[in-house]
């Protein structure tokens, strides 16, 4: 048993914080595209568009059914071997792609459930005033579904932030990769990973704080 090297840990904080922007960048960009893709797939699943429905179901099945790490390796190491234009794909892009597709598959199912939970009267009222299906989804149904889906979606975003750490297996020096390198130099593995764990934890806690405000905002129409 040895004492923790607090000075080392303290010195590591600013070094690792320098990698937080890259981690957040991958998570936010991934979340942005995943939300769009998931919403489109969820709406498709609700209306069951012929032919397209088969592909969407296959997509969701595959990306939910295989590990994120396998998917990342497939994109980064596998795809360039068969698709020559992808040879220049970098680790960050591959990670964002993997996170987007993987989480979109999960999120599509939560959004679909939230859409189906919107009261029938809301669909009928939209139709009765003469809205097209797109107008109905955009103005009435999706905003109401988002309130129901929000807590789950924030959960996926949290998972996504932590999922960015897998980028280090693609050779990206992000938060996790940087910690790994630092620790390999100092041999102070416990200290290094303790610091990085704390950084992830604090990021997620800040996000949970934001989540409470988001939920209050989304609930404002429903408060009595």
């Amino acid at each position: 048993m040895r004492a923790l090297d607090f000075q080392y840990m303290w010195d590591m904080v600013p070094v690792l914080l320098g990698y937080v922007p890259l981690t957040l960048f991958m998570a936010i960009v991934g979340m942005f595209f995943a939300l769009i893709l998931a919403s489109v797939m969820a709406v498709e699943r609700v209306f069951r568009v012929p032919v397209l429905d088969v592909f969407v179901r296959l997509f969701i099945s595959f990306f939910r059914g295989t590990p994120l790490l396998v998917q990342l390796f497939l994109f980064y190491y596998g795809l360039p071997q068969v698709l020559s234009f992808l040879t220049s794909i970098n680790g960050v892009t591959a990670t964002i792609m993997g996170l987007t597709l993987h989480f979109a598959a999960y999120m599509a199912e939560s959004i679909r459930a939230a859409i189906l939970g919107v009261d029938r009267s809301q669909w009928e009222a939209s139709q009765a005033v003469g809205m097209t299906q797109v107008q109905m989804m955009w103005h009435i149904i999706l905003p109401q579904a988002s309130r129901v889906a929000a807590p789950t979606l924030v959960n996926y975003f949290i998972d996504m932030i932590k999922g960015t750490s897998l980028a280090f297996t693609l050779g990206v020096t992000e938060l996790m990769g940087a910690t790994q390198k630092e620790a390999a130099g100092s041999f102070l593995y416990f200290e290094a990973f303790l610091v990085v764990a704390a950084i992830y934890w604090i990021m997620v806690e800040l996000l949970s704080f934001a989540q409470r405000h988001l939920e209050i905002y989304l609930n404002k129409a429903f408060a009595r």
Binding site: Q127, V129, G130, H139, I140, F222
Partner: protein, 251 residues
């Protein structure tokens, strides 16, 4: 205009599974006419209204509003949209957009469906809210309104659409008794404007007051129809007589 009627319905049929709910209904309503449909529960009154704007798709029959003629065998999505845009619907359960304020409930369709500018739509909505006595509730969400207030917004939303025909599906049936009066008052004011109305209701006194014509429906058929005094006081069909006796007894 191919017909003088505000709406004309020919041979409308609708079944749910093996149950036939509407049997060969034909009906014409003149512009400005106020028609009330009465009859026992489960006789297809609401289904008739819901088929008129394709919330329920009829199995067969033609609906003609203005120059638009819609038949389920050939109806395109655009036809159905056209039909819905010529009619306005007031729901039993109000069905206000839960994520929109009272004002937005009215402006929403004016902007997205009728393509009005936000300024014009807001002006119209404020005017409608004044008519419905809800100017001070413009920024309230439905969850913060009483049932009566919600239904008045629901009627306002329908009024602002300037539809050829307003359909009312038991607009007071879900209300606590204390709110019924204010909703009926508003409907009287709508009627005074010579708005074409088709109303399903159980409020017999109200029906007698505002209807130009009352239709009695039973078992998916129009059994008889006529002027309020005539139908309510000297009904000719035994089913109408039995129904009116039953309602007279309870209220």
């Amino acid at each position: 205009m191919t017909s003088k009627a505000a709406i004309s319905v020919t041979g409308l049929n609708k079944s749910f599974g093996t149950t036939s709910v509407l049997k060969d209904i034909s009906l014409e309503i003149a512009p400005g006419e106020r028609v009330v449909v009465i009859g026992p529960s489960g006789t297809g009154k609401s289904t008739l209204l819901r088929c008129l704007n394709y919330l329920d798709h009829p199995d067969s029959g033609t609906i003609r509003v203005g120059d638009l003629s819609v038949d389920p065998a050939t109806a395109s999505r655009a036809d159905i949209l056209g039909l819905r845009r010529r009619t306005a619907f007031v729901f039993q359960n109000y069905a206000l957009f839960a994520n929109k304020t009272a004002l937005q409930n009215i402006t929403q369709a004016l902007i997205t469906v009728k393509g009005q500018s936000k300024v014009d739509a807001t002006a119209r909505a404020l005017e409608t809210l004044r008519e419905t006595g809800l100017s001070n509730k413009a920024d309230s969400y439905p969850a913060a309104l009483s049932g009566g207030q919600q239904q008045r917004v629901g009627i306002g939303r329908a009024m602002a659409l300037d539809a050829d025909l307003m359909l009312f599906d038991e607009p007071t049936s879900a209300l606590d008794p204390e709110w019924v009066g204010e909703v009926l008052d508003l409907m009287r004011r709508v009627a005074e404007k010579k708005q074409t109305m088709l109303i399903v209701t159980h409020e017999m006194q109200f029906a007698r007051e505002i209807a130009d014509r009352i239709i009695f429906m039973s078992d998916g058929e129009i059994v008889e129809q006529g002027k309020p005094e005539q139908l309510l006081e000297t009904p000719s069909d035994p089913r109408t007589q039995a129904f009116l006796r039953r309602v007279a007894k309870t209220g």
